[in-house]
Subunit: 277 residues, 4 copies
Amino acid sequence: MANFKGHALPGSFFLIIGVWWSVKFPLKHFHQKGKKNRLSQKQQRVEIIEAAVRIFCCVIGFLAEQLVRDGPFFHLYQDDHWVKMMNWQHSTMYLFFGISGIIDMLTYLFTHIVPLGVDRLVMCMSILNEGFLFYYHVHNRPPLDQHIHTLLVFIAFGGSITTFLEVLHRDNIVLELLRTSLAILQGSWFWQIGFVLFPPFGTVEWDQKDEHNIMFITMCFSWHCVAALFIVAINYMLVYCFLARSKKQEQGEIIGIQKLKSDYTDQTALLSSSDEE
Amino acid sequence: MANFKGHALPGSFFLIIGVWWSVKFPLKHFHQKGKKNRLSQKQQRVEIIEAAVRIFCCVIGFLAEQLVRDGPFFHLYQDDHWVKMMNWQHSTMYLFFGISGIIDMLTYLFTHIVPLGVDRLVMCMSILNEGFLFYYHVHNRPPLDQHIHTLLVFIAFGGSITTFLEVLHRDNIVLELLRTSLAILQGSWFWQIGFVLFPPFGTVEWDQKDEHNIMFITMCFSWHCVAALFIVAINYMLVYCFLARSKKQEQGEIIGIQKLKSDYTDQTALLSSSDEE
Amino acid sequence: MANFKGHALPGSFFLIIGVWWSVKFPLKHFHQKGKKNRLSQKQQRVEIIEAAVRIFCCVIGFLAEQLVRDGPFFHLYQDDHWVKMMNWQHSTMYLFFGISGIIDMLTYLFTHIVPLGVDRLVMCMSILNEGFLFYYHVHNRPPLDQHIHTLLVFIAFGGSITTFLEVLHRDNIVLELLRTSLAILQGSWFWQIGFVLFPPFGTVEWDQKDEHNIMFITMCFSWHCVAALFIVAINYMLVYCFLARSKKQEQGEIIGIQKLKSDYTDQTALLSSSDEE
Amino acid sequence: MANFKGHALPGSFFLIIGVWWSVKFPLKHFHQKGKKNRLSQKQQRVEIIEAAVRIFCCVIGFLAEQLVRDGPFFHLYQDDHWVKMMNWQHSTMYLFFGISGIIDMLTYLFTHIVPLGVDRLVMCMSILNEGFLFYYHVHNRPPLDQHIHTLLVFIAFGGSITTFLEVLHRDNIVLELLRTSLAILQGSWFWQIGFVLFPPFGTVEWDQKDEHNIMFITMCFSWHCVAALFIVAINYMLVYCFLARSKKQEQGEIIGIQKLKSDYTDQTALLSSSDEE
């Protein structure tokens, strides 16, 4: 959908996933520190729910692209013409991300069957597919449109490489945080594209051929990058503080209980000693 | 051979190899699980047969390119002109894949001489060579022809990188499945090229300059990708189910035999006890 | 700042960092040899100081770009125009390198919280960001200007890849020395750009379209490369000699003390033996 | 030197190095099999000699480029013009390869000082430098000239990546054999360039714009590739056979000696037993 909503929808999906990951991965990191265990039952359930949500988002996206007012309504070829190729391409992206979600779910449902890393591989391929489709998406467009979409392709290829590296270096927190940042970056960049190409609140349109606009967008990309890193860093710290605090409270309670216990022991000791007197 | 058959032949070769791999690698994966052994005698024999079949396919391909009706018949330079460069280039591709087959065979025949990984390296080079030749193949062609061949080059480079990674990360099931998917993808894409550029059943020709055709082909590539993943996943599951079932049957028989044995022991115990009475 | 100083300032920063690294990494290498220990308290303090210096440099660079005579003075958009995009882009580079410095500092201040490798990742991203901004910086310029900046982009991408590899292969002295060389190379190349595009001492301007100038600059880049390697090699040897010498002196003193001790023992032995007589 | 000799000289250097490596690496591989030892004194001496020969070759190449009849004779800038940039660029290549040789020598002379992998890194940089200079070498040339040099750039980048991988995966025989093949390929391709661009024996010149010539050269590159692999494979087998045979002979002698010994023991036993009678 070549309008503001068509960019806000995937942007929101990526932002939600990215922010969620920026909480999940630090949590997993601090939990697993020291122990080289497999996932706990609880973590497994979380992963399956995440995969289900991702599949659900993709189904929504897919249907939105097909059933929007000027969409193809599942018609591919009509009257000697391909119908609404744009929408079909976007649907294909959602389809691929949906498959990635399904494979993720299978990986955590049947851990002893599906080989570890296949989930990351299919995720890598679905991001690569997105980059690939966008790459051939942007020809014959005005310079600013082309430029702003090209940067999206960069994010996609970066995310794809990162996810592929996770096939070989699984559970590397640094790679996971990088993937998280790229997901947030992609989400916020989708919103940026929407705001630039289809100004939503009746603001003036951007001159798509102005060299200065392109220069600003290039720099703006760096700022989005910084912002994504910042969000991930903040969430990482929040998770750490939350865990440290709850650990302290827990220990506090244990100490309290131990104190009660020892008081009780002392008292009974006193009593028994008084009895003995 | 710039016709339908010239694309259907390599397409079929790649499809056969790909589907075979999608059975072989899961089988190997489930067999080797847990044990870090070298290949068994049986597996070695299977690998040698595979290599032999691959060499055979390459010989057929090579001869077909040379001896087809308008082929070069092994003439390279005649009357101050290079003869049938296209066919020669295709022959060279088959030649390189044949060499890869020979090296594979040598690797499994003389395991203690040929260093592990050389087979993957030569396979990587033969795929790279294919991509390289196709890359310089597509200049000065109509846009759709160029585009559809470029996508083939992508598959080749992807396959080449994957196979090279296997030099360093041998027996990684995820990389092997990726290679398998890429082989199937390449096979099905060769067929797709044949259908698009040389419609076989008298259907209308594709307009090679229509932007919408190019957009559809781009998306179609993603679908082939999904289909290749799907085939690999299905075969993987089938192999798992087959192995799980045959294991159960085997155990069933063993239990049956044990039951027979224990029944017999019980009976003899009974008899002996009755004797004692 | 499109003038000599605007290139000399970052050039000097990179040179200083590079030369410092060419001392730091060999020192660390020879100290840690054999032992696989974590950083000592002293090394940690050095790292924190380095990070502080880097942040300080970035603040200076940032402010210089903003507050220079024809700078934007923190105005981004004025009178329907983007203000001084060039300076803003340079500021963005300094900003990103500053963030890298902050992350480095946090990594060494809170070693048990920040996961190892995040510092390298953010450094990688800040170098990548530099390369990215320069890449879109050089369009629509005369050939020599474009060429000489493109080579800077190469250094940036090379440095970025190297630093990313350090995420996965931390404390690899070869990668660290490579990064060091690239930092020095970048520093000296910034100076070279300044000298070529804005000859400072009233020398004649370079013809920016002359093919021979471009050929010389290409070769000159190789020479800078050689020079960078040379500086790193020299400093590496100096550090080794310094350490070897101070070790010898130390051992010499110990031997001296031991000699004094043994002399003393001999004397007392003599005395006691004479007493016994 | 833009003539036949100017390509035959580096071609021969690369061929010699390549063929030597195709003997050295298999020898090392079979010697080190099983044992994870450091280099023996003998191997170290061989490496130092190799480095010396490489430095010597580079000095010859450097001087040849400078002192050839129409060379620059060490003049860089004269009469407001750069002197003979081509020759200077070639000299720079030789210089870089010479530095790689020096670092190699230092690595094997001072094994406890120079960190392992620096030799490979500098070799990687010298090959990268060659590719880089050739890349900017080929603009504004006829298509065939450009194409045939571009392929050289590919070899250089391939060799550079391979050598860099050896920094991280040292003593990997597969990577070493790949590097060997690429060295031979580069050598033979230099000769090919010489034969195509400067036909030495008075044969007709190649039409540098003919599409068919370019197609043949592309394919010819694949054949050179095959040939390089073939040479490496043959030498690998020869080394294996030589080692196997000399081992057998050795063992034969030992068995012979043991037989003599046991015969002697038997005889003396006989004698002593006869004495005892």
